[in-house]
């Protein structure tokens, strides 16, 4: 049965391998160039300017195209595997009546399904895993520069999550094929269901997988030195005031409250405006009409203003990767069980 699985999968397997080889060549070459530029840039600018901000920014934008392409490939790969390897695996056979041939050799249909599923699932996980590994390596200097590991593309197209996606997408394709019994509709349904699950998990489930951390940032001279207060310029002079503050470096900012008073109520625009106009009338405003936060802060100090930021700390990256991979693997296991129960009841 292993031989038959291999014989049937051979063409698709080689096609996948050829594609993977082409992508690998491209990423290895581009990635090596990227590393050269990165170390060279650091060597030239470090002595003069410790942050190298402008130079590295330029490097990031130079390699943005290849990075986007690589991430797109990793995110599309599980879907492609589900559609082209998963969906036709059983549906293609049922469509052509070939199970009548194979199920009448001296093997049970359970063994037939088990070997086919396990063999091609392994190939799927290895192929997508190799691609993910390549892209993770390629992107690591860029990730270090951006410090953003929790963005949708950065999280979904790095390290181990693509392995879970691949296992899930493949088994999803097989299951849908077994239920629909026709290849083309099965392919379409697999694509739709896979992306629906991806969107659901990314947007709604991942932020709730681990308890979040909330930190309170006071609004004072030190936190506001590089910030500008933005007003909601409504006529009524009411409504909350928002200030964009960044979460701790490398963490995943999930949400941020408006500016709150000590009572936990959003401070109203009118309150800030009152302080501001008082400063302006006293002539205490800074140059170009932008008040230095000092006097404004003194006026606002009685309110004890602060902002609550909810985030996942940077060290939650690996736990989140592991939990999400586990979640997808569990889904794949459930679908596998459904396949076996379905094939038992399948009528010839």
């Amino acid at each position: 049965m292993i031989w038959l699985t291999w014989r049937q999968f051979r063409t698709q397997g080689f096609a996948g391998l050829a594609f993977l080889a082409a992508v690998a060549a491209y990423l290895l070459i581009t990635g090596t160039q990227l590393r050269h530029s990165y170390t060279a840039d650091l060597a030239t600018c470090r002595p003069q300017n410790d942050t190298c901000f402008g130079l590295l920014n330029g490097l990031q934008s130079d390699y943005n195209g290849p990075l986007q392409l690589a991430e797109l490939l990793v995110m599309a790969a599980p879907a492609v595997v589900g559609i082209f390897w998963g969906a036709p695996l059983i549906a293609g056979e049922l469509e052509r009546g070939t199970p009548y041939l194979t199920w009448n050799q001296s093997i049970t249909r359970f063994r037939w399904l088990a070997v086919k599923l396990a063999g091609v699932a392994l190939a799927s996980v290895i192929a997508v895993g190799a691609l993910s590994l390549l892209v993770t390596w390629f992107a690591s200097p860029l990730d270090t520069m951006s410090g953003n590991r929790f963005g949708t593309q950065a999280f979904n197209a790095r390290d181990i999550t693509p392995l879970g996606y691949a296992a899930f997408a493949f088994v999803l394709g097989v299951t849908v094929g077994l239920l629909v019994r026709r290849t083309l509709p099965a392919m379409a349904a697999t694509l739709a269901i896979y992306f629906a699950v991806q969107i659901l998990v990314t947007a709604a489930i991942r932020p709730n997988l681990l308890p979040t951390t909330t930190t309170t940032v006071p609004i004072n001279q030190s936190t506001m030195s590089s910030q500008a207060v933005r007003f909601d310029r409504s006529e009524a002079l009411t409504g909350p005031v928002t200030i964009s503050l960044s979460a701790p470096p490398g963490s995943w900012a999930l949400s941020q409250t408006p500016v709150l008073t000590s009572a936990g109520q959003p401070v109203q625009t009118g309150t800030v405006l009152t302080c501001w106009s008082r400063l302006l009338s006293q002539g205490g405003a800074g140059k170009q009409g932008s008040p230095d936060f000092g006097p404004l802060g003194a006026c606002l100090a009685p309110y004890d203003l602060h902002v609550d930021i909810t985030y996942e700390p940077a060290d939650r990256y690996w736990p989140l990767q592991q939990i999400e991979t586990g979640l997808y693997l569990a889904l794949a296991a459930l679908l596998t069980a459904a396949c076996f129960s379905r094939i038992r009841k399948l009528r010839g």
Binding site: R7, G97, L101, N104, Q105, S106
Partner: protein
């Protein structure tokens, strides 16, 4: 010896559609069994039940003394060739033989090699490029190569031209004889099976109408032509299968366990083909829900 197929009140229902009802059979081993019936009579259902593709919704079935499809050992003992002889279009003839060799514990390489040579099949040819006859022959070779004790074939010759039919049945009979295999094969045409079967089952509208050895069936049935009379006027012990009446004379087809008693009639034997057609006709097109034995005379009058 164990019966090759034993069924008791076997029934199969697909949702609300009844495909097979109240089927009781006991097929002794060593026969070539023909299963005849019109399209949709339940032939495929019965054969799929016999090889374990389907599980009955009523009654019981055992094949070679075991539950069909119960495990690898049982699968190894029963070969099945499905309708339209499915093969993997993109695998070569040699690949199919390798498939058979890999998936069966008792694969007979010598037998298969001889068959392929006789059939003049090119091992490198893709199965999808074979003619219908060659494809059926290949599928038969794979089914027979695992040396089953029972070979089940569902409408194996339905899509073949007359020459290919002949070749296929010859191949089948040679394989069965060489390996001592019992065979069950179905067709909607008795003429396909007449030359090869020594046991016959007639299945009409999901019910078994007739089952027995061909010789015994032929010997037990007679066509009687006599002056016009009611079937009741015939001597006891004669089961009337069909009756036709003209103004003056009546023609009965009767079944008799004992030799036909002498009477004021002319009696003649029937050919297998005539007999099967009569059984198919008298069953009526759709006996819903339970027809029971219909008075045959009524049918004939309707037909007139």
């Amino acid at each position: 010896m164990t019966a090759i197929l034993e069924a008791h009140a076997l029934g199969m229902q697909y949702g609300r559609r009844r495909a097979l009802a109240d089927c009781t059979l006991n097929l002794p081993p060593g026969h070539v069994v023909g299963l005849v019936g019109p399209n949709g009579a339940g032939k495929s259902t019965l054969l799929k039940l016999a090889c374990g593709f389907l599980h009955p919704t009523a009654g019981s079935i055992s094949v070679l003394g075991n539950t069909p499809g119960s495990g690898p050992e049982q699968l190894a003992r029963v070969g099945f060739l499905a309708q339209d002889a499915p093969v993997y279009a993109n695998l070569s003839v040699a690949d199919h033989l390798r498939l058979g060799a890999r998936l069966n514990p008792r694969w007979d390489h010598g037998f298969v090699a001889r068959r392929i040579a006789q059939l003049e099949l090119d091992p490198a040819q893709k199965a999808g490029k074979l003619s219908g006859g060659q494809r059926a022959q290949l599928a038969l070779t794979v089914a027979a190569g695992k040396l089953p004790e029972l070979l089940i074939l569902d409408e194996p010759v339905a899509s073949l031209d007359p020459l290919a039919r002949r070749g296929f049945l010859k191949h089948l009979m040679e394989s069965a004889a060489e390996n001592g295999t019992s065979v069950i094969l179905s067709s909607h045409l008795i003429s396909d099976l007449e030359r090869v079967c020594d046991y016959l089952i007639v299945l009409v509208s999901s019910r078994v109408r007739l089952a027995g050895e061909v010789d015994e069936i032929i010997a037990a049935h007679h066509r009687i032509v006599c002056t016009r009379r009611d079937p009741e006027a015939l001597p006891a012990g004669l089961e009337v299968v069909s009756a036709e009446h003209t103004d003056r004379q009546s023609t009965f087809v009767v079944r008799s366990g004992a030799p036909l008693p002498a009477g004021d009639w002319a009696a003649e034997p029937l050919s297998m083909e005539e007999l099967v057609l009569i059984y198919m006709e008298t069953a009526g097109p759709d006996p819903d829900p339970d027809p029971g034995p219909r008075p045959a005379i009524q049918d004939a009058q309707d037909a007139r």
